[in-house]
Symmetry: C2
Subunit: 414 residues, 2 copies
């Protein structure tokens, strides 16, 4: 439920977008929303959600809610599927984002003495420059590498004695494996990793953590809402703190749209309480998580969400059962000898769904390959309720990528 302070910001937001955002003016009119009818926090449920499709349809600058002079920057989603979403930022938005990012680094224990190697991309994407602004606001040293060029990354990591690495989990794994392969672990001075932008499991986390000898923090964010840095793990690693002075989070049932009680898992919906360039009201993120009740052991009062367990788009129905990548991780965590790298193949053969789970395993271990396969099948059946085929193969046999790994391949609609 919204606090009084949040509701005040929320009412300001509504009257602002109703006046200055053509996008929301039309949307509210179409849906018969009168902002003066929103009198109490519980009235928020009457306001329709904003969807990714609507943001795409607003291309190029339909979301802009300030005059042109006030916009200092745009960012954009990749637009790999359909039109990209373009988000205009004011100077205040850029500043607010940097404040949140710096706060995130602080929560992760990064200090002005750290040297932070930034491996995500710059340009239209929000990642690189967003991380850099936060590092600089905190007063640490940004080592702005951008993506790829693993040789140079490792060289700089050694020569500059980088202490913090920022990247996707896939790329962190690439680096970890390369450090191992080259036998240069003793020359790597990393102490922390800030990892974001894709779902990843416990096993992968353990591998990166062990091979690089770092403590890992999940950072959350999305282009539509500033970018990365709107939430992060603390040292307790019991969910990600997010900033309720800038953002209002709700969890909804992604099929019915109903707001779920605290603690239940569903789709995260975000309202920006202070954004100027492109404010969003009840934006459906498609990310699946839950709000964690109670105060964190770290003592911080910022509320928390759990790790993202998947996206509504990643959710696949196999034999009538909803499966999220997050559940696969839960299964693999229980299987002795199985690695965190997996791929799911779904087929429809003789009128029945067939799901194959490909997993990497450590062939140096004690556990036999076929035992691991049997184990996966058993635990999957027990935990998720369906019969699958398990195929394990050696470390490095599944595809790695410097961007997000494609984990689910559904052949049923090909």
């Amino acid at each position: 439920m919204m606090s009084g302070g949040q509701f005040e910001l929320f009412q300001k937001l509504l009257s602002n977008v109703n006046q200055n955002s053509l996008f929301y003016k039309e949307k509210f009119e179409k849906n018969g929303i009168k902002v003066e009818d929103i009198k109490a926090p519980e009235d928020i449920k009457n306001i329709p959600f904003t969807t990714k499709e609507e943001l795409r349809d607003a291309y190029p600058l339909g979301l802009q809610a300030v005059s042109d002079e006030k916009v200092v920057r745009i960012h954009s989603s990749s637009g790999t599927t359909g039109k990209p979403i373009i988000i205009p930022y004011t100077a205040q938005d850029v500043e607010d984002w940097a404040v949140m990012m710096a706060r995130s680094f602080e929560i992760a224990g990064v200090t002005p003495l750290d040297r932070v190697q930034i491996t995500p991309g710059y340009g239209l994407w929000t990642a690189g420059i967003g991380f850099q602004a936060g590092v600089e606001k905190l007063g640490a040293m940004a080592v702005p590498m951008g993506p790829g060029n693993t040789d140079k990354q490792l060289q700089m990591m050694m020569d500059l004695k980088s202490t913090v690495i920022i990247g996707t989990s896939s790329y962190a794994l690439v680096l970890a494996e390369e450090v191992e392969r080259r036998g240069i672990r003793s020359e790597i001075k990393l102490r922390k990793g800030v990892i974001g932008s894709e779902r990843w499991g416990e096993k992968m986390r353990q591998r990166i953590k062990n091979e690089l000898s770092i403590e890992i923090y999940d950072i959350y964010g999305l282009t539509e809402i500033y970018g990365p840095g709107i939430g992060i793990d603390c040292d307790c690693h019991e969910g990600m703190h997010y900033y309720d002075d800038y953002l209002y989070f709700e969890i909804i049932d992604s099929e019915t749209g109903e707001v779920l009680p605290e603690g239940e898992t569903g789709e995260l919906v975000i309202t920006t309480l202070r954004k100027e360039g492109a404010p969003l009201v009840r934006y459906r993120t498609r990310d699946l998580t839950r709000i964690i009740s109670g105060k964190c052991r770290c003592g911080r009062t910022y509320p928390r969400i759990d790790r993202i367990i998947g996206r509504t788009d990643d959710m696949v129905k196999v034999k009538g059962v909803n499966i999220y990548p997050g559940q696969i991780d839960e299964v693999l965590k229980e299987v002795e000898g199985a690695s965190s790298e997996y791929q799911i193949l779904i087929d429809h053969i003789n009128g029945k769904d067939v799901m194959t789970l490909k997993v990497e395993y450590n062939s140096d271990g004690d556990t036999d390959r076929s035992d691991i396969e049997d184990n996966i099948v058993d635990i999957f059946k027990k935990r998720i309720g369906i019969q699958i085929i398990a195929e394990v193969s050696g470390i490095g046999s599944l595809p790695r990528s410097e961007k997000k790994s494609r984990r689910i391949i559904d052949y049923r609609h090909c």
Copy 2:
């Protein structure tokens, strides 16, 4: 000659680096320099130059002149030849650079209503983020594209109605030619181009200017001294204004090291008057230019340097004569029908230097190919004093690059 205000900053700089920069402390000691002996502006000539090689030898962080907590960022030269040069920046350095860049945009007539498409790279390179910081400080809209992906560049240019393009001259030419080829000129709303980072000639300037219908401003800078944005053309286009409140410029004879009188062409030497992270004293830029006397017609009091006519490294001696790329441009400007794209091949055959100048020509024009070739040979002989071979070929036949074009190929030492 230094002004009183500059000299005050200069003395502060000397005592600062003498205390806080191990690099300069050792250099001054080795050269018997006592900073207290520098009592008047003319004493600056007693201080030894700083060279690119010394900066390379200081890899990785030997130039740093502040404590680690104060450094918020590094940038680096590309390091294609030998070790890269790494420059640490404090928050104040980042701010000062943004102030100079915003000033540069203002001088070029960019306003808060402009939409500025940034095509140089981000990351370790100083270009992308430097331009972006200036655009944002000015309050214009940054469209942060980064390099390459010409399809997407043109799409965004049309969809976002970009009014200013920033890039290298080579890439601006790629874009201009592509706009022409696709017949989309009427959909391009560009009005200005801010072009930097490589030498380029009048003909190329005219082609980009005409094909994109823009006014073009040369911007100057180098990684070692902040990055781009330390000087720029105004509407008078009679040299680039530079910022004598941040930087002190001298022109020297690159062979003798003697300071040249105002107006004479030589190597530009820069002293940073306010830089904290990596201050530089009498840094030899290797860029060839001259200081332009008198006040600019625009009324601005910032002093001016002429366009960079080449680099001391680009200077080639052919048949005993020094040739700079800038002189080639001067020749080509006079040749009817010749384009601005050229390449120089130098060989040593039968004990003699042979120089071939390859030039593109517009085959739609009235001038005959062999006439153009004869003309080039004649004017070259008259202007520069040596006999060359000229070879003209159609537009597009010489290599284009999205980075800096390689114009001089010297086979004599292969």
